[in-house]
Amino acid sequence: MNRAAEEAGARIGARAVDSRAICPALRIEQAEPEQDAARLARLAFWARRWGPWSTPDGDDGILIDTTGTAHLFGGEAAMLARIQAHFARAGLTAKLALAPTRGTAWALARFGPERAICTDPLPALAPLPVAGLRLSDETQLLLRRLGLKTIGDLAAIPRLSLMRRFARAGAQDSPLIRLDQALGRAAEPLDAPEPAPEFAAEARLAEPVVDPSDWLPELLERLCAQLAAADRGCRRLCLSVFRIDGERRDIRVSMAAPTREAAHLLRLFDGRSERLDPGYGFDLIRLAAEAVEPLTAAQPGLDGAAPSGLALARLVDRLAARFGPTAISRPLPHESHIPERAEIPGPPLAAIPAPPARADRPIRLLSPAEEIRVLYVIPEGPPAQFIWRRQTLRVARHAGPERIAPEWWRDRPGTRLRDYFRIEDDTGLRLWIYREGLIHDGRGGAPRWFLHGIFA
């Protein structure tokens, strides 16, 4: 019922004939609860533009978690005004309230002032009627009979009395639980539904099976056809099997670049579907595209192969699907003199050319550096002889020291400096060793020696 009808005298709960007698221009529509609920669910996903998390609330509300997002819209008041304007443009009247708890927001949106913003629940709730506590009709009636009209009245009653009276009541019937939830004393966890996948293909099987691989090529073809029709590509695929014992198992594969190439996607499931636990079998397989991105059709090369930029993305996909996304990396140079920080693992598709090789850096780095036992050391020089894993190595030639100081902005205080030496033993092993610290540098005892790298 809109505001015009209300002003003309129509009331909720009155008979349609009576209302039409009062207001002849009244337009009456059949109630369609299922369609309303579906529209509300869609509206809830649309409302995620203001927060990362939203869910329909009852049959006439939407909850949005706006924690940390208000500043993007110019503050809380501006955000509420903007939300209302957006709903108005869609032809909907929205009553809004912003509060720290779900219960308070619910009450303020329905019984509070226009676009209420509340930081402290209790003073904001106190003047509101008890109906604002999301209670069942029986409990509301009971509270009215007890003379408790506002939430403030209810909050003033000792907890013990309320507890005694409503000990066995559920959340719907207990003013105490509802009050605690509204004031943030009791947690009220909620689940935000995921939007249904836009692109999905399903196979319903007549009999339960235990291996989905026979159905995969056809499902992928169908899914990729859907994606191609919409000029989209996906970066994640979720294969779900619905087991006959009421469980669901998922396999997800990710792609480095959006794609809709069925043959490539099929290879990503190689060896993955065997690890799926089929239980007693499953009778529904669903393949859904997630992380859908726009992807225009690409011109294949003259030899019919995919463009070469894609070849690397395809390889990375296959390796990541097989060995996990953490195994694969592209070392990138990093501005640091500390050797272990001079390269960082970058994303596999990063295209930063490597700097030219430095002759004073080894081609291999041991991680962590291995401690060596020095037998005999030239002062301010490298050891003449040292023991690495019970092998004695005699230093024939050396270069250095190259002093690398700790990075005070990153290292803990007390980190010792390192003096690096390039050494070669008498049989031709070329190694990179360092002395950690100096004698009498006040940062620990005698300096220790480490083997850190291997030269070619």
């Binding site: 690397l312 070392p331 390269e343 090789a357 991680s367 031709g428």
Partner: protein
């Protein structure tokens, strides 16, 4: 030349002719064996032999812990690094890499004698490398040569480095004794290989004739 008797295989007058060096960037499976712990000869040789472009570098866990991980500032190569655990995974990743058109070469490192690296597995890799037209290198740490379908098999031992022009006490350009002990269509040969780091080039020369250079190998072997 000193007055001592000539080593076997060296012509008595002048130096022996340098055996023909096979193409190191041919699209075949090659193996490089390191001779000792802590030597960077095999990775260094492979690194210098790789064609320009993006290289997939796959390591198993033991190679990483015992011989270290590739270090970008020292290598100066654009790598796609894959850190795996089992040798079987390394072989599977190499096969995947050989099917891609984005790479210039693939390199795998396997520590010790892995049952997964059987003759059949090496034959698969060799065929894939030839079909894909990409060089594929296997670096074998702490392993003795066994039956393998690799088209070239190298054994690389470190030698005391060439002298540094700026500092006589510093190690200079790396020198290795490279022994090609099995190759298709080529007799086994041995070279003294110097990696000219300034030009990033491998210089092959006849190995024997210089007692000082040949000595360490006799000691090690």
């Amino acid at each position: 030349m000193s007055a001592r008797p000539f080593p076997i295989g060296v012509a008595p007058f002048g130096r022996a002719p340098v055996p023909v060096v096979p193409s190191l960037t041919a699209p075949i499976l090659s193996e490089a064996f390191g001779t000792r712990p802590l030597t960077g000869a095999a990775p260094g040789f492979v690194l210098a032999a790789l064609p320009p472009g993006l290289v997939l570098w796959v390591q198993d866990r033991l190679s990483r812990t015992e011989f270290g991980a590739p270090f970008l500032p020292g290598m100066g190569r654009d790598l796609l690094r894959l850190d795996l655990t089992r040798p079987a995974d390394v072989l599977a990743a190499l096969e995947d890499g050989l099917q891609s058109r984005a790479l210039a070469a693939v390199v795998g490192e396997i520590h010790g004698h892995a049952p997964a690296l059987s003759f059949t597995a090496s034959r698969r890799l060799a065929l894939r490398a030839e079909a894909a037209g990409l060089p594929c290198w296997l670096i074998r740490h702490a392993a003795r040569p066994e039956a393998s379908a690799a088209r070239m098999r190298w054994r690389l031992a470190p030698l005391p480095s060439a002298s540094d022009p700026d500092d006589p006490y510093a190690p200079g350009d790396p020198l290795w004794l490279a022994e090609l002990f099995r190759a298709r269509g080529q007799p086994p040969s041995t070279w003294l290989v110097r990696h000219d780091r300034a030009a990033d080039r491998l210089d092959f020369s006849a190995p024997a004739g210089d007692r000082k250079l040949a000595e360490p190998r006799r000691k090690a072997g």
